[in-house]
Assembly symmetry: C2
Homo-oligomer: 301 residues x 2
């Protein structure tokens, strides 16, 4: 796999997602190009803020070449710090205004240093007012996507549950999806997975937007959404490896923290009343489930 080919795939994914989100939102993004100051290359951040569909969100592309691996990365990957490296990827987070439209996150990435290289990525969904059949359909699509490129949905689904774990809360960040990292076995196959995932974003997210973007919302629903966004912040700042690595390596801070919601709230020791939709989110949807087998809870929509 040449760096040029992966970078070209990433650019294609970045542009395809930009088109999807522009159509869904109805407005083009704000675009910022930036240079990687410690080496060659750079990135393009595309942001929607206070837009029609999107309260805050965006999709970033980057492709950087460096003469020497940053210390933190070298230690983490057990690679000599003097090794030149190449890293490219696309990441997106979308926080829509309407509490009935889920937040979504997707990331695909490729890393190369010396003779080592690997692919990684994933997609995961964070609904505030989930509809059971839609969550199942999302996972069903992911299973089909994995099977179409001979990737193992069950493993990647489990990795996703393991990764997006807010340990201090005993909750997952959302209803999961797939997550994979350090794929270094078959470059063509991994490239195909990453490409398929990236190019499927529109098909995976559009149904949620089209179904719910005009749902009426109450003040309480908005409050619950902002409360759950506090958990999103907690996960990203405390646990997310990409965020932590970006902060430690003095990356472009506004691109790294594009994942933050516009607004997040905290309430002391708050818990939803038993039997409410909000209670079902925290007691059922935010616990790992085998979505392709689990029975719809009686109270679920």
């Amino acid at each position: 796999m040449t760096p040029e080919r992966v970078e070209s795939t990433m650019r294609t994914i970045h542009n395809a997602i930009t088109t999807h989100l522009t159509i869904l939102d109805g407005h083009p993004p704000l675009e910022d190009e930036w240079d990687y100051e410690s080496g060659e290359g750079g990135g393009i951040s595309r942001i929607w803020e206070e837009s029609s569909l999107i309260e805050r969100g965006g999709v970033n592309f980057s492709a950087i070449h460096g003469e020497a691996l940053p210390e933190a990365a070298a230690t983490q990957f057990s690679i000599d710090p003097d090794t030149p490296f190449f890293a490219t990827g696309v990441s997106l987070v979308v926080h829509p205004w309407n509490p009935h439209v889920p937040t979504i996150h997707m990331n695909v990435r490729y890393f190369q240093a010396g003779h080592r290289w690997w692919f990684g990525g994933g997609i995961d969904l964070t609904p505030y007012y989930p509809v059971f059949s839609e969550v199942v359909a999302f996972h069903r699509q992911l299973k089909a996507l994995c099977e179409s490129v001979n990737a193992d949905y069950d493993t990647y689904k489990r990795h996703c549950d393991d990764y997006f774990h807010i340990r201090h809360r005993g909750e997952r960040r959302g209803v999961g999806g797939i997550f994979f990292d350090h794929l270094q076995h078959d470059a063509e196959a991994h490239h195909a997975l990453v490409e398929r995932l990236g190019m499927s974003f529109g098909a995976l997210y559009r149904p949620f937007v089209e179904e719910h973007r005009h749902d009426p919302e109450t003040d309480d629903e908005r409050a619950f959404q902002l409360y759950r966004r506090g958990r999103y912040v907690e996960f990203n700042l405390v646990y997310d490896r990409g965020t932590k690595f970006g902060l430690q390596s003095q990356g472009r801070i506004e691109s790294i923290l594009m994942s933050m919601p516009a607004t997040a709230c905290w309430r002391y020791d708050w818990a939803p009343d038993p039997g409410t939709p909000e209670d079902l989110v925290q007691s059922f949807y935010l616990q790992p489930q085998d979505w392709l087998k689990v029975k719809k809870p009686r109270r679920a929509r």
Copy 2:
């Protein structure tokens, strides 16, 4: 120094601060008592939320005895994990509604394991619309406080600037204060410092409240306050040792995250217009200053 004596001092500080905040706010706090499940003792959290002065804040007391030091602490302090330990302290964070009243944080703590013990603590101020003379007066009071117990203001002031550093932003969290840790040289003297600091909270914070609690506020000022609160969240979740230790050691999560504001906001790549009060905050007040010598900037209030 006996554990009983330090615990008694901490309880006295906790109650004195509760009284101060109750008078300032005009309402008593919500109180939660909790037990330390992995050993003996526990704590008392006192919280104000959506109250008169305080949007969200509180003051926590804890005193816990354990049979064996948690793994993380043992590693951090190079102490045998099987050592029984005792830890007690008071911590407070107050986020007032009015953007003209600063957020304040204070913490005093004592730790003992085997033959080792130490005191730590500090206070720091996070104004949104600082008044120069008030920031100077705050530091002048802290210097006098330190001198009254033979503590070194200059060193602790510098430690505070070093500690409350949001490295990925190149900013401090606020205008500093004092910070000290691992004081293990003279128990009586360190106890006196901690006691004096704890009992001085009212005198240190009251002036800001009385002067500004009824200041008129604009929507833009409120927006800037919520934006800066995003930075408070970033510091606490990414850097604060107490928060990280609490999350890792599965402490009482709502007491640990009592430091979170009710609401925090993020805006992509936002910067205040040059020459505005908000610009002066970020370019002058959030950089370390020798407050007892620095000249008032021309644009400062």
